[in-house]
Subunit: 239 residues, 2 copies
DNA sequence: CGAGGCATTGAAACCCTTCAATGAGTGTGG
DNA sequence: CCACACTCATTGAAGGGTTTCAATGCCTCG
């Protein structure tokens, strides 16, 4: 699915995200191990298919086993906001744990498989599961706050860099290449997530390529200079 | 503390926030009732005092009993982001529930009192408490996503309106006036939260006053036309 | 081989930021 | 009690980064 799978436990944590990632995301495979042998309902998804939609009765939690997903919220007047891109080990449906219906859309950006977690069953049999859940929830909050920080204090180019570094680190933690990746989302989705227009994303990627930091070929991104990419985000030297 | 306290259970939910507020915030007093008679450690705070700082060992969760607080995260290179303004019924420390240390600062913007919750004790004696916790966590995620949506799709004036409507609704739910409120934070804090410069906040408030929607007198805000204020946020009529 | 979705590029317009100066309110100390 | 210091709020003007609008190109799919 991604370029050159490496050893599953390579865990190169980017300084940009390390502080934000909780135990839940630091080792995305742990939940899967925990669930081995359980009667999980598995579901395969095609591109553009919904895992669930806002307003639907909540069935449960979904653990991503493979694929690439986006979650988004839509306001009453139709404004849309991509709240995150999710991959293996991430949980879908966390934000509605206390509600009877989902409050966001979860959409597959690629073929993939998700596992439906029998929540009530798990609460009884696996006391450890509740901790995982709490950790996942708290981790999502920290991640959201970090992105708020990014969007609130960085310019377009730096936001795109933040995104690339974050995705690179996450893919790396999953055993994929950290320097070569295929963006599964459109420029519009990416722009929406980063609070930028799609044209601005295009231009930012273009400038990063012109600086020799990355190589862009439609959705294929190759990172050429990770250290200088990281340096892009640091505040201009203090006086 | 605020203008004209009304009946404690008035719960006027603003459409802007209603969809986002979970059970936990919909009735902020419920947790307090749940905790009646428990051996809580109470702590009084002065203006500018820290409830906790990022990096400190995590003592526990704090329930706000009174006062006005802000939470913020700070990146390694010093960029700051106010992640929310918190008042009675809100929990401080949620985002670090799975960690040994706090990851944000919580600061009192006014005198106030917080109750330290004995987490382990609660988990054993009050099974209902775990549900509250989950609801509070999920609610925070939904709130964060909603603010991301606001910051990503609204202009300066609309963001300020969103903030005013949100605060108005929250104060109202606590039994305070929904049309007259005292902003406890500086323009800089507000700007930081809304991803705007403080001058932009000032000008937005000024324009709203010029339109006769609100009345601004330093930190005292009076809402004159709530319906038109709400209408400011809706997208320009579709064709 | 069109049709459609998506990406790219250019130019103009605009909203917000930045910089700078002034004013108002609060607290401290002589 | 007033003066000074300090914080915070306000206002103006200029500059710039991003958006908006429009057109073109590329790739995929039926």
């Amino acid at each position: 699915m991604y370029d050159r799978p490496i050893t599953p436990d390579t865990n190169v944590c980017d300084p940009c995200t390390a502080a934000v990632q909780g135990a839940a995301t630091a080792s995305p495979m742990m939940l899967e191990r925990l669930l081995e042998g359980l009667p999980l309902v598995r579901r395969r998804l095609r591109r553009r298919q919904y895992v669930f939609r806002a307003g639907q009765p909540r069935h449960g939690l979904y653990l991503i086993h493979s694929g690439f997903y986006k979650t988004r919220v839509i306001s009453e007047d139709g404004r849309e906001k991509v709240t995150g891109f999710r991959l293996r080990g991430d949980l879908l449906g966390l934000e509605a744990l206390d509600l009877p219906t989902y409050t966001c859309d979860a959409i597959a950006l690629d073929v993939g498989e998700i596992w439906e977690l029998p929540q009530s069953y798990l609460r009884e049999r696996l006391p450890e599961f509740q901790e995982r859940l709490t950790a996942a929830l708290a981790g999502e909050i920290r991640r959201d706050w970090n992105w708020m920080l990014v969007l609130g204090s960085l310019n377009a180019e730096q936001r795109v860099v933040s995104f690339l570094l974050d995705l690179s680190a996450r893919l790396s933690a999953l055993g994929f290449s950290s320097t070569s990746m295929l963006l599964r989302m459109t420029r519009a989705d990416l722009g929406n997530f980063l609070a930028l227009q799609l044209e601005t994303v295009v231009r930012a990627l273009h400038r990063l390529q012109a600086q020799g930091l990355i190589e862009v070929e439609r959705r294929q991104i190759r990172i050429h200079d990770l250290p200088r990419l990281r340096a892009q985000i640091a505040l201009p030297a203090m006086h």
